[in-house]
Amino acid sequence: MIGAKRKTIAAERIAGVIGNDFVTIHETDALLTSVDAWPLSLAKIRAGELIPFADIVAYPHNVEEVSQILAICSELEIPVTPVGGGAGSCGGIIPVYGGLHLDLKRMNRIIGIDHDSMVVRVEAGVVGIDLEEHVNRFGYTTGHTPTSLRASNVGGFLATRSGGSMSSLYGKIEDMTLGLQVVIPDGSIIECKAVPRHSVGPDLKQVFIGSEGTLGVITEATLQLFPIPEERRFRSMCFPDITSGLDAIRSIFRAGIRPSVVRLYDETDTAMSIAPHFEVDDESCMLLLAFDGSRERVALDEQQSANICQAHGAQDYGDGPSRRWWEHRYDMYYPSKFLTSGYSIADTIDVVATYDRLERVYWSMKEAMESEGAIVLCHFSHMYLHGGSMYMIFFSSQPDAESLWSTYERIWHAGIEACHKEGGVMSHQHGVGLTRSTYTEDELGSSFHVLKMIKQALDPKGIMNPGKLGMGVQK
């Protein structure tokens, strides 16, 4: 919290820039703006605990307003936390030191599609699904299909290096972004021109992609588009274990095939997610595949992938499980009575590793998290030529709130420690937020120093999202 006098001065000066209607100091607005999809926040809300909220919330309408607001906050040394869709899963928007919540939802213009280059320019506050539906009308897809598509916005995707379930083919948001506009803390507007590639020094936009609001505010982006595929086909293959499943996946990629979806469920996740709808043997592991492209190409890729899977001992389940997952992919995120009753929590640690250590990371994390009493299920969710990510889902229920909070912390700690021990990287797509902030230094090792120097250079007063990415923790 920033003190009443500074709060009043800041609110008045910001109102001078964007108008009284778009600045608020109401606790109700501030509190609701702080709620993202971090399971710990939501569990605390269920338990009747107030979560931290900002002193002021502002809703700018354009980049000039963002620029002037940041200049004011710099001058007054007020913490600024950008807010995207507010569906981040690790507490990234929680303003731990109060200050200003800069909510970008009003910056929701789709500026235009360049049909020749097949790119779209958008403001940061455009909600994912609105963008996708808009470009669909012109025969395109963004190819970005995270399950937070309905709530997260472009700025949030970029700030967290988000990845959709089809990233094997279309890439993650950092691959899809050709140009970027950012406002840095002193109020300067930075443009990184939209080009497919360049060789003029380092790719500076990548400094901001994934910076989670700690280096500046992303205000606009130019994103790739793809033609809506002529055909999307689904195939499902059931393996006796994850080892054979992972071997098959590697072989598919090595054969030059790029499925759009590659998801391998471990035996617990197969039992929980697939078995209620399809008959599967105990201890088997289901692989869900999808293929996007021209009819001929997809038919060929699908057949070749099926052959590879069968050569690795898989049983063919046709399109059923895979298609069903696609059609119901949002369902598992709806709240259920079971998961919201009493003192319960379910969360996910999404990690990534190269193939040589992927399975070790899996076993090690599973064992470590289970030793803290968690029920753990996993699917290998986003796979590539050189490795892939795991979605380690855990669940815990405790008799009271305090036990739940401490158990939750221990499970996370055990999971991250095990991941690091086996050479994994602690997030593939969700980002750092508050859950992983204290592990950032360990994760980045010697390069953490570079991140800190970049932070120091761009944000010398430390106003941007303090307490995140392991930086700016105030005493």
């Binding site: 606790e27 607005d29 609701l32 999809a37 107030l50 809703y59 009575k337």
Partner: protein, 373 residues
């Protein structure tokens, strides 16, 4: 909804990662996380568990809801935010904690039996009596068509006469009570309702027909829920026209027509096909559907007191619906609700004609007659 169900629903919704927010019209009007299903549920959950009372801003958030139930279409656990909001408003009114901006509406309905502050004596000023037809039908006109959209009332009577009805329009019809029910003034609404039931039950007619889906829903759902029953069947005009109209032989209408589903008719009453069928029969044109249609249709912005309290936000929602119509290339936007028509027409420009269903049908019939002549 009993207290246990209420507690379960708001707890569930408070834990949701905003899976319906993208269709919430008040989210799109304010672009803030407060006036959203999830936002409202968090405030109510905090209140229910004793963590935080509803402050004035929270009360305002509860009134920044259209009760359009679009969220429910997207909600697998079936959290009924519209009903939760309505229950909460009833409680806020009983505690005298509602926004003062509603006072005029309430006082006007109490005194004049319409929310517009118009004298009751002019309610049927648009109506020209005419005899001769055989089957008697009561046209429950509703306040909007009586005072603000009289062309709908006139068209409805003309149409009903043209298909053989003797139309009764009642001088002592009062507001159905819907604006008061939706904003929490239940006892005041029931005064209107009881009067209407008494009047309607004293009439000998084949049916009561309503053009306003708000009136229709209130008469067929809310009245019985409050123990009030109407003897004569109540029908919506779209359903009656669908039954009575036969397809026109030849129609050369070539404009793109789209249809806006009113929330009270669509999601709340399950009527989707009848108005579309009427449009097709009478124009020969299939409706070109907007991006969001039927149970997924976006609200026009004109419901549940929103326009009274927050007119700018309500109009933004209306404008965005007009944009949806233009996005499908429509030249004609038909709806089946005087209230929706009033909002949508107000936000449209000359490139888009907006009609209520009876107006459109009458216009098409007249066009055909002129051609025959």
């Amino acid at each position: 909804m009993d207290s246990e169900q209420y507690a379960d629903q708001i707890r569930l919704c408070a834990s949701c990662p905003k899976l319906c927010r993208h269709v919430c019209p008040t989210f799109s009007a304010w672009r803030s996380n407060a006036p959203t299903p999830h936002g409202r549920a968090i405030l109510l959950h905090y209140e229910a568990v004793g963590a935080r009372n509803l402050d004035d801003r929270a009360v305002e958030v509860i009134y920044q809801c259209l009760q359009c139930s679009h969220c429910l279409t997207w909600c697998i656990p079936e959290v009924d935010i519209a009903s939760i909001v309505e229950m909460t408003r009833e409680r806020l009114v009983s505690e005298d904690r509602y926004p003062s901006g509603l006072d005029r509406l309430k006082q006007s309905v109490d005194a004049n039996h319409n929310p517009f502050g118009e004298p009751h004596g002019t309610r049927t000023s648009w109506y020209v009596t005419e005899g001769g037809e055989v089957t008697r039908i009561v046209y429950f006109t509703g306040c909007t068509a009586s005072y603000r959209e009289q062309s709908i009332a006139v068209a409805t009577v003309e149409l009903l006469r043209s298909i053989g009805y003797q139309v009764l329009v009642l001088d002592d019809e009062w507001c159905c009570g819907s604006p008061l029910l939706r904003t929490g003034f239940v006892p005041d609404a029931l005064v209107q309702a009881e009067h209407n039931v008494e009047v309607l039950n004293s009439i000998d007619a084949e049916a009561i027909v309503a053009t306003c889906p708000g009136c229709y829903k209130t008469l067929v759902k809310d009245y019985p829920e409050h123990g009030l029953s109407i003897r004569i069947p109540v029908r919506h005009i779209s359903d009656l026209l669908d039954e009575k109209l036969s397809a026109l032989d030849e129609s050369d209408f070539s404009e793109v027509i789209t249809y806006h589903d009113p929330c009270h008719l669509g999601r709340h009453s399950g009527v989707y096909d009848a108005p579309r069928e009427v449009i097709r029969k009478i124009s020969g044109v299939e409706v070109s559907e907007m991006k969001r249609n039927r149970e997924n249709a976006t609200c026009c912005g004109n419901g549940a007191g929103l326009r009274t309290l927050f007119p700018d936000a309500a109009k933004r929602i209306g404008s965005s619906r007009i944009q949806d119509a233009k996005d499908v290339g429509a030249r004609v936007l038909v709806t089946s609700c005087p209230f929706c028509k009033n909002m949508l027409k107000g936000q449209a420009d000359e490139s888009l004609d907006v009609f209520d269903l009876p107006e459109f049908v009458l216009g098409m019939t007249q066009r055909l007659n002129q051609k025959d002549e």
